[in-house]
């Protein structure tokens, strides 16, 4: 990894010597509201909310995710709130059907996701991104997974 970065830096210094302003330096990386993840658990399942983003489309995948290729698209005036959640399964986990997560906004209006838990426990660690179709500009308050609730307000972009 260090060697790769070294090679890139070497080339970059060459560019600078030539007085070239590399276009890619202007590239903006995707903003992430990560950090400040909060953790909670239901028996045998450690759950951490890692990120909240907004997007016009959402990949429709179960949780844990496979490689389903279907995407949902927003209608005018809507956006997807994408809530990413990391899961760790311990030996104490007993597989049982889990309800789909839901979110609430700052007025306590609830929104559902199309994503479903399927085969939780089949892998020890996984991350899922739950899409919620919300009106543009909606501020999120909390995510609910079974009986656990997670504050989303600090993770809002």
């Amino acid at each position: 990894m260090h060697a790769q970065k070294g090679a890139v830096l070497l080339f970059l210094s060459g560019l600078r010597e030539k007085g070239v302003r590399p276009l890619f330096a202007l590239a903006v990386t995707a903003a992430s509201a990560a950090a400040a993840g909060q953790s909670s658990s239901i028996p045998g399942l450690d759950i951490t909310v890692t990120k909240v983003e907004r997007a016009a489309t959402a990949s429709l995948r179960d949780c844990p995710p496979g490689s389903n290729t279907v995407t949902a698209v927003t209608r005018p005036g809507e956006q997807f709130a994408l809530v990413s959640v990391a899961f760790k399964v311990s030996q104490a986990y007993r597989p049982a059907p889990m309800k789909r997560p839901s979110i609430t906004d700052t007025t306590d209006k609830a929104y559902n996701t199309a994503a479903t838990f399927v085969d939780v426990g089949s892998v020890p660690e996984f991350s899922c991104t739950f899409p919620f179709r919300v009106p543009e500009g909606t501020k999120l308050k909390a995510l609910r997974i079974e009986n656990a609730s997670f504050d989303l307000s600090k993770l809002e972009p």
Partner: protein, 270 residues
Amino acid sequence: MEIDRRAFIASLGGVAAVNLMDHEAKADALEHYMEEKLDAGVAAQQPEKFPTVAEIEAQIETRPFRRGAGSVFTSSRGNVKILEKMPDKPTLHDFFRLRFAPANHVLQSATRAMKTGMSEEIILACLLHDCVLSLIKPDHGWWGAQLFEPYIPEKSAFAIRYHQTLRFYADDDAGYEYPDQYYRIFGHDYQPPQYIADTYKMLKNHKWYMEPRLVTVNDLYAFDPNAKVSIDPFEDIIGRHFKQPKEGLGFDNSPSAHMWRTLSRPDQPL
């Protein structure tokens, strides 16, 4: 921007080629490579431009076949192949193996229904819901229900018949989103015809609304190119709920026997 050093060097023709380049040429090559990567990254983030209904219609005369032809009658790559002959008394399993194959989508759909604890009638409906696409595509819900109706529970046939309608209507509570693939295949400005809208209105008030709705929910999540699925987990459900005729499918004088025969022998000229 992350640079994959190996990919970059390979793009220049390998280490030997890079060693022949002077410092300025290397810098030029890197800049060019990174611009390409940036363009590709930006392009990937752009929302896909879906066709209009008119654009899709304009493609009709560019094909030697109609889009509604069942998959046993056409080939997406070159000529069609000789099909393996069906046994004298074909079973549902034989049709899965010889006419519906690979059937990956319906197997994924039924696998998901099973894993999420749905009823056996729904699992069976998911397993069969798109099989008729081998025969014909337009109104596949109705055709599919007709094909299987003599042999399966009423609820499963209802679910197969009406999943086609409910695919056009999102249902947040049930977890069904209108899929991007429908923008792609029907056009982003497509409006379902009146009979579909009327059927949807009927279904919304029907006590069995959730039967076809659950088929659509599993349908949506069954397009995973990496999924490994098999018909084996469904043998018991087929055994319990599919009334396999002793004469074989196509030879039992059922109302849909002719459809099974057509699937068996799609090369018959008349």
